[in-house]
Symmetry: C2
Amino acid sequence: MRKRRTNDPEGMRRRVLDVAEDSFQARGYHASSLGDLMAAAGVTGGALHHHFPTKKALALAVIEERVAAAVEETWITPVRAGPSAREGVRAVFEAVAAELEQQGYVRGCPLNNLAHELSLADSDFRVALAGIFAGWRQAIADKVRDDQRIGGEGGTDPDRFAALAVAAYSGAMSMAKTAQDAGVLRECLAGLESVELSSSQNGSAAKRRRRVLRRQTIR
Amino acid sequence: MRKRRTNDPEGMRRRVLDVAEDSFQARGYHASSLGDLMAAAGVTGGALHHHFPTKKALALAVIEERVAAAVEETWITPVRAGPSAREGVRAVFEAVAAELEQQGYVRGCPLNNLAHELSLADSDFRVALAGIFAGWRQAIADKVRDDQRIGGEGGTDPDRFAALAVAAYSGAMSMAKTAQDAGVLRECLAGLESVELSSSQNGSAAKRRRRVLRRQTIR
DNA sequence: TTATAAACAGACCGGTTGTCCTGTTTTGTC
DNA sequence: GACAAAACAGGACAACCGGTCTGTTTATAA
């Protein structure tokens, strides 16, 4: 009875990244030992070292391939596809809140989790994470600019709105994680929507609000 | 030549907490070894163990005594003393931004830094940190309620405003830390101030805004 | 087939970590 | 001054961590 082995570099790499991503989010980078990861992924030290020479290289891969993809999937794509930037932001907030309430616990934002632990630790980490933040904000700001070019969307500063949206989400997730309660997300969203009153919006309640805005504008 | 020793429990405890607080913020909890802390504080293992039996106990003391105090000092006290909640929030944002720009680097928010690393690690950590977050938000919300009782300050929901302010600050600090640039704080503050347009405010432009709100209320 | 490199296995090591333990000194109290 | 408790010193240790190293198996291409 011979023991066969099947070389599957991509599959093995993926399995390691799966486990690493999960553990880094749940326990953090420093609290995740390579031994635990190897055991969880069913991978030997030799294989791990072959694909990721150091722990830092592994974390960098998680950041660039997984965390960036997570932001892309849960934020950038929905916002781009949405009817407007504001509506997209609202939809993401509510979708995340609903998902968290359903699953019963809050792990926090993947990007923020790693950003807090690794930004000051290593410059390579910091740059990679900062790039994801920048892309996130720019996607929202670009959407606002599109809204302005097409429809109304008054004098909202795109960069300001994007920065506030990302900051509010990040901070809300931080609190939700600490309190283990996703309710804060909904409260922050409600606060964020007050910003809409100062400018126009597409949607069912748009006319009423636009009227208010007009009065406000002509003073 | 005799070697004298002066027992100074409070002083030694303070010195350890100083070093621990600094290291936990700069390097994080897991990346801070007790050996480093002992060396930096000039404290022996016996003394450290006498005041803080475990590393967890030390971190808990840092959270309850130092982090809570930092939030109290930089946020709660200024907001309470300020002319209004909104003005207080604005002042804190600007003060922190100015301080960070002056010192050239961004270490992030003490509370958020530890909250991200320790919330999921241990329930005791989580509860302590969540309490600080709650106190922070409540102080702002109470101030809004005071404003409403005294002056105008229209239909702003106190809890929503507080949650948004804390979230925006936390998230902005997170980005500022990752980008090593305090500019995001100013952008988020500017975005936050748009919220003011949806309700009234004490100050020069209060009357105009209050009129708008009244129209809105009676529809 | 055969050579060649990639893919993987698994033991090994030096250094570090947090904690514990035994002793010594200082301080407060009667 | 006697004595107990607190305050401090400093070594010891077992567990663990990340990285390296050598060797074996599998895939690839000539």
